[in-house]
Structure formats: structure tokens, C-alpha cells
């Protein structure tokens, strides 16, 4: 039976700055000094907040939270490439990037502490709140992108983040398929940290790469060294450019690693080896970015110490403010079920308030 080849594909990996700090000059996105420093500082803040959240949780002062350590390049570099006009549709493991997008640290602490108030942005912009149902946000991103195209907004696009586990969800498939059919301005960033809680990437999908899934939908897929901030910046910047010019969607697979536990309730030693984790710490995006800055004479020990001190003060202040916040009305949960008044809900509110032991406020902390 003669077989005719009808199609042929390949998948590439992009790396601009390797783990030794070696820069590929041809691919260098040539960030301005200010942007390069901003990116490193944002990545550092994400890392620092992470460490503090884990400590606070261990002390019983914070709810369960998902550390982002290791993901800083994969999420902060795209945030740098985005403008305020672009939409950020994330999941739950991009804290550093969310802070770059204007979320306040104090608000984020409220969220991880279990208060809806933490989801309310002070300046309503184009950053959607954290979602917990894995993959569900990806079709939202595509719908938003449809609205951008419908309104002929040429200065904006949508970036949606999700994990490797999420690629098994029907919603992610449906979203990518819709995006391709509609040719809407969306950039999918799969943060492939190789684990979905205890489930390894190889058992999540038999595809050799996540990037190649894009080929099946009919748009470009690219694997990027997800611990390389410059590579992630370059890839996102190009994909955003293409999206804004009407070129449709792109899938970026950020190949990275979750260095800590899935959440503070998880013990990763049950399912993965110390040796594997060790190997990935050697590719940590933070020292890599620092070496790059030092190479451009933008950074040194003095700057590092000053940054460390600034972050300590900023985080202390936010933690204090969050722990002192309180006096929130317990019946706020009856306020926003509908946008129109409902007598039944109002009756239930009265009964709820009557059932409280005292005219109590919601506790400010205490998980």
C-alpha cells in the first residue's frame, strides 16, 4: 500500500539565556536597563513573598497556598511583555506576575487568607481573579479575545496561563479549538512544571511536547526554556505582536519546574526524588537573571542588599496591614448573589444575622 506524506511538522525550543548566564546575542530582546531591572525585581519579589507565605502558613497565620518558586521567569517575563490594555487570565500560581499587573500584596494576602475581599482589585483593570477549577479560565480568555476582535481593538490581546495538568481538561482543548477557528488574539502559556500534584507530565499526555498540540489546532506552538526570562519575554512579545496584528493564537509551552510543594498542604517527597529537585534548582531562573544584569553592569551586591531590604519592608507592611484588617461585615455574602434585590435572600440575611452569637465581624486572620 503506497503511503503519501500529507503533512510534516516540527517543534522548536527557544532559549536566549542559558543556565550559565550565556546570552545568545542574535536572539537578545535587548530589554532596556529599566525593564531588565524591573523584571528581576518582580521575580525576586515573587520569590520572597512565596517564602513568607509558606512560613506564615506553617505558623497558622495563612491559609493553604500554592508556591510559585521556580515559575518566576515563566510568568513575570510575559507580564513584562504585556501592556495594561492586554488581558491577564491566569490560574493560581503567578503571584509575582499579578503583583506586576497592579494587584496589591495586601489584597493578595486577603485572598489566600480566605476573604473574597482579596479578589477585589483596587483599580479594576484587565486582570481576572485567581481561579481554582483547573483549565476553566482558558475558554474565558478566548471569549474575551473574541470581544477584542469584535470591537476592532488592535492594541490589545489576551494572555492565558495554565498548567500541564490542565491540558488534559476538555475545556483547554475546547478553548484552543475555538480560538483557532475564530482566529482571535490570544496567547496560551502552558506553564509546564512537569507535575500536576503527584501526576507526572509523561502520564498526563503521551505527546512528546505540549507545544505540538498547537499544530493540531492549526496555530503555532513553541517550547521555551521556562526558566529563561529573556526567552519567555521574546516568545510572549512575538506572540502578542502576532495576535494584535490579527495573526490569531499562539501556544507557548514554558518548560519549567515547580521547586516547592504543590500547595502548603502537599508533601512532594511522596512522589518525586530529591535528586530531580536538585537538578532543577541548578536551573533556578533567579541567579540566571541576576548574572545577566551583572553582565550588563546593572546590578551588584549593593543593589541586591538594597532590594532585599526594600522587599522585607514591603512584605512586613503588607502582612501587618492584612493581619490588622478586619471588621468586615459577615453578611457581605448576601450582597452579591444577584445584581438585583431578592426578597428571599434578604429574609435569609436577616435570619443569618439573627443567628450570629454577637454582632460579629469576620476574623481578620486565623485560618
Amino acid at each position: 500500500m503506497p503511503l503519501k506524506e500529507v503533512a510534516k511538522f516540527s517543534v522548536s525550543q527557544l532559549q536566549v539565556l542559558d543556565e550559565h548566564g550565556q546570552l545568545d546575542e542574535k536572539l537578545d530582546p535587548r530589554l532596556s536597563a529599566a525593564d531588565a531591572v524591573r523584571l528581576y525585581e518582580a521575580m525576586s519579589l515573587g520569590r520572597e513573598v512565596d517564602q513568607r507565605l509558606v512560613r506564615l502558613q506553617r505558623q497558622g497565620r495563612m491559609g493553604t497556598c500554592p508556591p510559585c518558586t521556580g515559575h518566576e521567569a515563566a510568568v513575570c517575563a510575559p507580564a513584562l511583555a504585556m501592556t495594561d490594555r492586554d488581558w491577564f487570565v491566569g490560574y493560581y500560581r503567578e503571584l509575582g506576575a499579578r503583583l506586576m499587573r497592579g494587584d496589591s500584596l495586601e489584597q493578595s494576602l486577603h485572598f489566600w487568607h480566605g476573604h473574597e475581599e482579596g479578589n477585589v482589585q483596587q483599580q479594576p483593570g484587565r486582570t481576572l481573579p485567581v481561579t481554582a477549577i483547573v483549565g476553566a479560565q482558558v475558554p474565558h480568555a478566548v471569549g474575551i479575545a473574541y470581544a477584542m476582535k469584535y470591537r476592532r481593538e488592535q492594541d490589545s490581546a489576551v494572555v492565558s496561563f495554565f498548567g500541564d495538568g490542565a491540558t488534559s481538561q476538555g475545556d483547554v482543548h475546547e478553548a484552543m479549538n475555538f480560538a483557532a477557528v475564530w482566529q482571535v488574539p490570544v496567547v496560551f502559556i502552558c506553564v509546564n512544571n512537569q507535575w500536576a500534584i503527584s501526576h507526572p507530565r509523561e502520564q498526563q499526555t503521551r505527546s512528546e511536547t505540549i507545544a505540538q498540540k498547537a499544530i493540531a489546532y492549526g496555530f503555532e506552538g513553541l517550547q521555551v526554556d521556562g526558566n529563561d526570562p529573556l526567552g519567555m519575554y521574546l516568545a510572549t512579545d512575538r506572540a502578542l505582536q502576532r495576535a494584535r496584528e490579527g495573526g490569531g493564537p499562539t501556544l507557548i509551552e514554558a518548560l519549567t519546574y515547580r521547586l516547592l510543594m504543590h500547595t502548603t498542604a502537599d508533601d512532594p517527597r511522596r512522589y518525586r526524588s530529591d535528586a530531580e529537585v536538585e537538578r532543577w534548582w541548578k536551573r533556578d531562573p533567579l541567579p540566571r537573571m541576576r548574572r545577566y544584569l551583572e553582565g550588563r553592569a546593572l546590578w551588584g551586591e549593593a543593589q541586591q542588599e538594597a532590594l532585599q531590604e526594600r522587599m522585607r519592608q514591603q512584605i512586613d507592611a503588607a502582612v501587618n496591614a492584612a493581619e490588622q484588617a478586619g471588621g468586615w461585615r459577615p453578611d457581605v455574602l448576601f450582597d452579591h448573589v444577584y445584581g438585583t434585590p431578592d426578597p428571599e435572600i434578604e429574609a435569609q440575611r436577616r435570619s443569618f444575622l439573627g443567628s450570629l452569637p454577637r454582632a460579629g465581624a469576620v476574623d481578620g486572620h486565623g485560618a
Binding site: I133, P139, I144, A147, D171, F178, D335, Y338
Partner: protein, 327 residues
């Protein structure tokens, strides 16, 4: 004189008028464009408004609901058509997990004003997963509104209201009524009020509560009871399943002292059960007899050879009214 329209034509009119009024309104669903929907509800709209506003989507309910949520978050007013009610559960995760919750999750900062319309219910000899009536499952989700019209004129007015509403609204269209009868529907837009029941006929002997396709046998039963037994039925069309207009129902039951609820859906964990509970909460002592429920059974909606056996009819309604009056 206003033109006489079927429910399909009336819904089509509402869609057309809302699209003319507001260019944020876009329709999306399977086969709604060139094919104009399997029931032709979107007839002429693709031609009039183009493929960008009448979007033929790939075959994926979660994708349809999920992308509509994004459109709504970004300021559009998407109106989804789910081809048949039995398929809505493939998009239920998006409805329950996101459409219904964005408002409370963000304390009102983000909202999802979308409408999901779909034919529902038995009586049209369709196949499996085409005839379900699961309004209680959807109404049981805080944050969703559920509306069911019972005639062309109310369908047009309530759909216009649903499209203008700030919340996600599930608009369930009784497929059995799509072409069952015509009604005068004024040309100029009429906008109904969500959350309100409609007292269709006043009477002092017994309150009969129903909605959707079951209004048909309820109306016929009320006629027969008046003609043959001199029983004066007060007939209430619930219209809004959630939020539910408790006040109108209990006020009526307080006067008549007797109540029969007629629904197509399975009996247990249903809207009828909820209405009984609210009557008990508020006017138990004015009741002269236990409230009767006439309903489908707690079985999977049957294939069409048995659907007539499953659905409530006049005889069952009249027997239940007899029970309510006997005690």
C-alpha cells in the same frame, strides 16, 4: 391588530429587537447561523447581522458557555443557544463554577450578564437527552436566574428582560409550546420583569401553580373544573423559577386555603417541593388541606413512546384538585 406569532417567532422577534437596540448582543451556538437553529429560532438573524454576531460555534457546550463568560466579562451581551436541554450539563461546570459565581467571588467587581436559552421538556417526540426538564437543578445554583415562559407574548417580553438583566439567566423554552398556538404580540418592544409570577386567572376555591408547558393542561383543567364542577381555580404562572416570587403564591394560597402544583420535572428535590416548603413556612395555618404535587416521576425522562405516560395531564390535575378539595 398585532400580529399573531408562535413562540418561536416571538423569541426570534425578541432576539432581533435586542440585537438592533444594542450591538453588544451577540448570539452563539451550534447550527444557529446558516441553519438558523434546529427549531429555526434564529431565522433570518445570520443574514441580518452577519457571522460575527450570530456565531456558529464548534460542537462543544463547555466551550460555548466558557467563551460566552469571557465575552460577558469583556462587556458583550452573549446569548447562548444550547441545542437541547439534555446537553446543558456538558457546560454545567462553567455555569455553576464561573457564570454563577463571578459576581460573588469578586464582590460585584466582575459580572457575567449572559443568557443561555434552550428548548426543554418532553412532548415533541425527540430522542434521548432532548426532553429533560431539570429547572430545579439549575435554579438550585445560587447566582443563576431561571426563567420559563408559557406563551409567545411572555416569551418575547421575558427574553428581552433576560438579555438586559445584569446576571446570568437560563431561559428555558418549552419545546412543546414552540408552535402549539399563536398569540398577539405587539410589534413595539415589551420588556417583562424577572422574578415575578403572573396570576393568569383568579378564583377562590383552589390555587393551581404551574409553569412552562404544564400551563397547557393546567389551563384546560381549570376550564373543565369551572364548567363541569363549578370549581373556581386561581391559576398562577410562575414564569420565574429563580428568584421565585413566593409572595404572589402564598398570598393566593392564604386566600384559597388549597393548592395544587403541576410540574413536568421529576417530583423529588424539585421546584414543586420548594414551593410546598415555602407555603408551609409562611401560611401553614391557613391551609385547609395538604398541598398536592402533580409531576413527572423520579425516573429518567423516557424515550418518546412513553413520554405521554410520564407527563402530567388534565386527568391527573383534576384528580389532584379533587384531593385538595376533599380534605
Amino acid at each position: 391588530m398585532a400580529p399573531k406569532l408562535t413562540m418561536v417567532e416571538a423569541i426570534n422577534l425578541a432576539l432581533r429587537q435586542e440585537m438592533e437596540r444594542d450591538d453588544r448582543v451577540v448570539l452563539l451556538g451550534e447550527d444557529i447561523g446558516i441553519n438558523e437553529g434546529v427549531f429555526r429560532v434564529t431565522a433570518g438573524l445570520h443574514t441580518a447581522f452577519g457571522a460575527e454576531r450570530v456565531i456558529d460555534t464548534p460542537l462543544a457546550e463547555s466551550g460555548i458557555v466558557g467563551t460566552a463568560i469571557g465575552m460577558a466579562l469583556a462587556g458583550l451581551r452573549p446569548v447562548i443557544e444550547i441545542q437541547f436541554a439534555g446537553f446543558v450539563f456538558l457546560g454545567f461546570g462553567q455555569l455553576e463554577g464561573h457564570a454563577a459565581r463571578y459576581r460573588s467571588r469578586t464582590l460585584g467587581q466582575w459580572t457575567v450578564p449572559l443568557v443561555l436559552r434552550m428548548p426543554y421538556g418532553a412532548g415533541i417526540r425527540a430522542h434521548e437527552h432532548h426532553s429533560e426538564s431539570r429547572e430545579a437543578t439549575l435554579a438550585g445554583v445560587p447566582g443563576l436566574k431561571v426563567v420559563i415562559p408559557s406563551g409567545p407574548r411572555s416569551a418575547r417580553a421575558l427574553l428581552a428582560a433576560a438579555i438586559r438583566d445584569p446576571d446570568p439567566v437560563i431561559f428555558m423554552e418549552p419545546a412543546q409550546l414552540y408552535r402549539a398556538f399563536r398569540e398577539e404580540v405587539p410589534e413595539e418592544p415589551e420588556v417583562g420583569v424577572l422574578g415575578r409570577a403572573h396570576v393568569e386567572r383568579t378564583g377562590s376555591d383552589v390555587t393551581l401553580v404551574s409553569w412552562g408547558a404544564m400551563m397547557l393542561p393546567s389551563r384546560r383543567a381549570a376550564d373543565l373544573l369551572a364548567r363541569e364542577d363549578g370549581v373556581q381555580v386561581e391559576l398562577i404562572d410562575v414564569q420565574s423559577i429563580a428568584p421565585l416570587d413566593t409572595a404572589t403564591i402564598v398570598e393566593s394560597v392564604a386566600r384559597t386555603g388549597r393548592c395544587v402544583i403541576v410540574q413536568e420535572s421529576p417530583r423529588s428535590f424539585s421546584l414543586a417541593s420548594e414551593i410546598v416548603a415555602r407555603i408551609n413556612d409562611q401560611v401553614l395555618l391557613q391551609l385547609e388541606a395538604p398541598v398536592q404535587r402533580v409531576s413527572g416521576y423520579d425516573v429518567v425522562t423516557p424515550f418518546f413512546q412513553r413520554e405521554r405516560l410520564y407527563m402530567p395531564n388534565e386527568a391527573r390535575i383534576i384528580a389532584a384538585v379533587g384531593q385538595a378539595l376533599a380534605d
